[in-house]
């Protein structure tokens, strides 16, 4: 089975580096499944889990604020933050979720609303990944 290199990089460090068979991400335009020898592609990503399949094993990474660069033999995901399921602080994510929900309920001006919405998305994303 052919494979390719997958890297996930944040401003702080390299979070993930493995040889994989398939990567599935959620781009701004919709879900993408990437297999080896994919056409070179660049697209921003939504706040969503990234799934990486390798040797029958599945890794899930919570990615926020990133984009993906696909080359023939390599996939690089650059993100503002990215966590593997085991690194996620569930309590913190839970707290963030409640805070965001409260803010959304309180109805303030538009900027705060957008911000709370994004925060909620991030928290939900983390919780989803940690539960997998």
């Amino acid at each position: 089975m052919s494979t390719f290199q997958v890297e996930i990089v944040t401003p702080e460090r390299k979070v993930y580096e493995e040889t994989a068979n398939m990567v599935s991400v959620t781009g701004v335009e919709g879900e993408l499944g990437i297999l080896p020898n994919h056409i070179p592609l660049v697209t921003p990503l939504r706040i969503a889990p990234v799934t990486i399949k390798r040797n029958g094993q599945v890794d899930v990474v919570a990615v926020n604020g990133g984009f993906i660069e696909v080359r023939k033999d390599k996939v690089v995901i650059l993100a503002e933050s990215a966590e593997l399921a085991r690194d996620i602080n569930v309590d913190r994510a839970e707290a963030a979720k409640q805070r965001a929900q409260q803010r959304l309920g309180a109805r303030q001006d538009e900027v705060d609303f957008r911000r709370a919405e994004l925060a909620l998305q991030r928290a939900m994303n983390r919780l989803n990944v940690s539960k997998r």
Binding site: T10, R13, L41, F67
Partner: protein, 286 residues
């Protein structure tokens, strides 16, 4: 016992305490410097990759239009100044702040022509005292700053540029060269200069479109540049502190030696005097 002796002894003691403190601070700074340098190295792949992708978009598509790439006539200038929260770092803060003040004095006539973003308590206090317009400030940054810590100030600085609040943005910080050398530098961050290095590795597909991708990437790119400047600034801070505390320790050692010498002289003089007195007393009796 001569009266001066006790004073000298007290002085030696206090210098010794001071030396202990500066020595400890030097060592702490040294270990933090190593960590800061590591963080700076680890942040490099992200920035490099981002630059590569942005450059390849710019090279691939000839006429990309984006407000962040366009030079406008300059009416107002933004400065993002990176200082430290704590002092005792030699000329670290003073150098940067002098540079900013000088530039502002040369280029602007009134306070309406510039705006400041400040990272670090020292810088904030300095500008506040002088009643200069601070738009946003970040203080209490940890020693190994996370991207999330400076995200708000970075994105505010970038956003206000694209909204047209000012027409150029400068980054002023201490560039880290090595532990003893830090150069206060001023970099024009926005509008982004011609992103060169157009080595188009592969012709990419862009989703939704090259412009759409650029729209997302350029602000990220600028924020990343700010983040790496912050990391560089941190490394410089610890380097400067290490050097400053190192020379303070050296000076303390020198002073202690000098004082010890004086003390011993005084002690010897006191003993000699005592002997002379005893001998004189004995002579007088016989």
């Amino acid at each position: 016992m001569a009266k001066g002796m006790r004073d000298i002894k007290r002085e030696i003691k206090s210098k010794q305490n001071m030396k202990q403190i500066t020595k400890a601070m030097e060592m702490v700074a040294a270990s933090k410097l190593r960590r800061a340098q590591e963080a700076a190295t680890q942040s490099r792949p992200y920035a490099d990759k981002l630059k590569e992708v942005v450059a390849s978009i710019a090279a691939g598509t000839k006429d990309v239009k984006h407000p962040m790439l366009e030079s406008r006539p300059i009416k107002k200038t933004g400065y993002l100044v990176i200082t430290s929260d704590r002092g005792l770092a030699g000329g670290y803060n003073a150098n940067v702040l002098r540079k900013v003040t000088q530039t502002i004095k040369e280029k602007h006539k009134s306070a309406d022509e510039y705006a400041l973003f400040v990272i670090g308590r020292k810088g904030r206090d300095y500008f506040k005292r002088r009643n200069m317009p601070i738009i946003e400030e970040v203080i209490g940054l940890s020693d190994s700053p996370q991207f999330a810590d400076i995200k708000s100030v970075a994105s505010a600085a970038v956003k206000m540029f694209s909204e047209g609040a000012y027409d150029e943005l400068y980054l002023v910080y201490n560039k880290f060269v090595n532990a003893i050398t830090q150069i206060p530098s001023e970099i024009r961050l926005l509008p982004l200069e011609e992103i060169s290095g157009g080595t188009s590795v592969a012709s990419y597909e862009y989703e939704p479109s090259p412009e759409g991708v650029l729209e997302v990437l350029l602000p990220k790119y600028a924020e990343t540049l700010i983040y790496s400047a912050v990391l560089d600034g941190k490394a410089s801070e610890f380097g400067a502190r290490m050097t400053a505390m190192g020379s303070a320790t050296k000076n303390a050692t020198k002073m202690i030696n000098q004082l010890t010498l004086t003390y011993n002289r005084a002690r010897q003089a006191a003993i000699t005097q005592e002997i002379t007195e005893i001998v004189a007393g004995a002579n007088a009796q016989s």
